[in-house]
Amino acid sequence: MTPPSPLLRVENLSVRFPIPGEMWGAKAVVHAVEDVSFDLAPGETLGIVGESGCGKSTLGRTVLNLIPATLGRVFWQGRHLAAATAREQRLMRREMTMIFQDPLASLNPRMTVGSLVGEPLDIFEPSLARDERRRRIAAVLERVGLPPDAVARYPHQFSGGQCQRIGIARALILKPKMIVCDEAVSALDVSVQAQIVALLGELSREMGVSLLFISHNLAVVRQISDRIMVLYLGRVMEIADRQSLYHAPRHPYTQALLSAVPVPDPEIERQRQRIHLVGELPSPLNPPSGCVFHTRCPFASERCQREMPALAAIDALHTVACHHWQEIAEGRHRATT
């Protein structure tokens, strides 16, 4: 009856961490996430990219309500997350889960794979019959490509890629609606990484699970995401559908990021033009005035130092926070891909 509402809606979210000040100084505040808004549709995969310290992991954890929001709101199926009662939050927990970067570290070494994968069932469906529990564990293990005898074995008996499959099985067993994947394939070897990305893509399509796919690897994000959000110093620089972001990036930061990724082809690599970023990443303790990217942007003007650019819509799916995106797009400055 109701119009298709987003599964997840994030409104003007800011997350700040106070840290103890220096001896006589005022208390300092880390601006980890600043004024981030987005929607996630059911079944959609949103890639979140950015370099270290851009706030992508903090954003993922705040969405799961593991870190409280400082400002702004997160809605889960229309329900305000922070205002939910403990009971409601518990129900929400069933529907949103997470896969971590280090597969082995995120699994209790003293639990068998069967009990690790079954643990969410013990918590949320304690009255489940033992046969049914066993059947569900076996089914999910099979689905993620683990052998049936994995049930009785321990995490250390598996390789990194297989441990990540165990992590995925654990995340899937309650049939969640959203999985936050925080650098979920970054620690894996290239050949195994491709297998896990393919598995996550299949699961998302088959089961209609939405993914919030957080990664620093732009090429991996391109494989799996419907839309991509680029963060820099906690702020959204650009959000676009995959085609636009990779073929017509409008933000100078996105362009610089894409131009920095080496392409595995010596001929192309030799001819590529790179956009050089000047200087260093500013501290999130003291973000620059105006556009946070202006200190490193090759196109920055005096206006960029003063005035923070708002996110402007280029089309229905593509928004960018840059005063000069149009001039840059019309000029000869393009990322070469």
Binding site: V197, P262, P266
Partner: protein, 334 residues
């Protein structure tokens, strides 16, 4: 400032032959590096690629003589005409840092947290060139400027924890290059860094090459190899499975593993690739290597012969070689 060997320029700077490095472990002997040979001339850049356990880093550590006591090394490593294997530690120490230097993956662990940037750098030239403290400070400053560290003078008195990851890696490269070594070994030098910083560090390594240093770069990232390396060597389970000019290997990979790796990497510039092209299975356990070809259990082309006899590296064309019973010259399976 070419640093080629004085006696004979046709002698390679580095000649590794039949190098094997084994580790004794409670579970058995791990053949980390298994009978590999390669050579490198001045100014050349060689990329060694492979996944975890392929032996790529252990090859570097073998050259540097940085192996734990549980390791046994055999074969030969000739550097500037001198055999490194079996060289007394005192002599090896004279070469390390001066003639050959290593850049580690993690700059934070490569730097001493208790020493200022100046002390880290000047130690090298004080030790090798017997410079006085002020002269060494001047050298350290030059070295920092060479790696484009902004406000170099101010950075000299800072400690590693006060620098960003990218700056730290620049300091590590400055340290490696301060005595003008003829060979720079780099173990995943950009893996811990963000892409924009990685791009800068790769430019920096290219500059060291222009200045005459030969580079051996160990990486899992084929994009990095494409950007920087003249030649590439692909390792799997301690062995070289394919080698050749970077452009040849990338355009026409002959080993099914190389083909699989190239197909498995997601790229920015092609169609969204077909995940079914990914290589099945896991890299092997070096304690339980199958007989025959180590890649056979994952290989789409493997036949009965592959499970019995290990293929040897067979040269082809100029500089190329492949170790596969079913290497298909000129054809890239789709």
């Amino acid at each position: 400032m070419s640093q080629s060997t004085p006696e004979n320029t046709s002698v390679p700077l580095l000649a590794v032959s039949q190098l094997s490095t084994r580790f004794r472990t409670p579970g058995g002997v791990v053949p980390a590096v298994d009978d590999i040979s390669f050579s490198l001339c001045s100014g050349e850049t060689l990329g060694i690629v492979g996944e975890s356990g392929s032996g790529k880093s252990q090859t570097l550590f073998s050259i540097m003589g940085l192996l734990p006591p549980t390791a046994e090394t055999s074969g030969s490593i000739r550097f500037e005409g001198k055999e490194l294997l079996g060289l007394p530690p005192a002599e090896l120490n004279k070469l390390r840092g001066e003639r050959l230097a290593l850049v580690f993956q993690d700059p934070m662990t490569a730097l001493n947290p208790y020493l200022t940037v100046e002390r880290q750098l000047s130690e090298v030239v004080q030790y090798h060139h017997g410079l006085s403290r002020p002269a060494a400070r001047a050298e350290a400053l030059t070295a920092l400027r060479r790696v484009h560290i902004p406000e170099a003078e101010r950075q000299l008195d800072r400690y590693p924890h006060q620098l960003s990851g990218g700056m730290r890696q620049r300091v590590v490269i400055a340290m490696a290059m301060i005595a003008n070594p003829s060979l720079l070994l780099a173990d995943e030098p950009t893996t811990a860094l963000d892409v924009t910083i990685q791009a800068e560090i790769l430019d920096l390594l290219a500059e060291q090459r222009e200045a005459g240093a030969a580079i051996v770069l160990v990486t899992h990232d084929l994009g990095v190899v494409a950007r920087l390396c003249d030649r590439v060597m692909v390792m799997y389970a301690g062995k070289v499975v394919e080698e050749g000019r970077t452009s040849d290997v990338f355009r026409n990979p002959r080993h099914p593993y190389t083909q699989g790796l190239l197909a498995a990497i997601p790229r920015l510039d092609d169609d969204i690739h077909d995940p079914r092209k990914a290589i099945d299975g896991q890299p092997p356990d070096l304690l339980e290597l199958p007989p025959g070809c180590a890649f056979a259990p994952r290989c789409p082309l493997a036949g009965p012969d592959c499970r019995v006899t290990a293929p040897v590296l067979v040269p082809h064309g100029e500089l190329g070689a492949v170790a596969c019973h079913h290497a298909n010259p000129g054809v890239r399976p789709s």
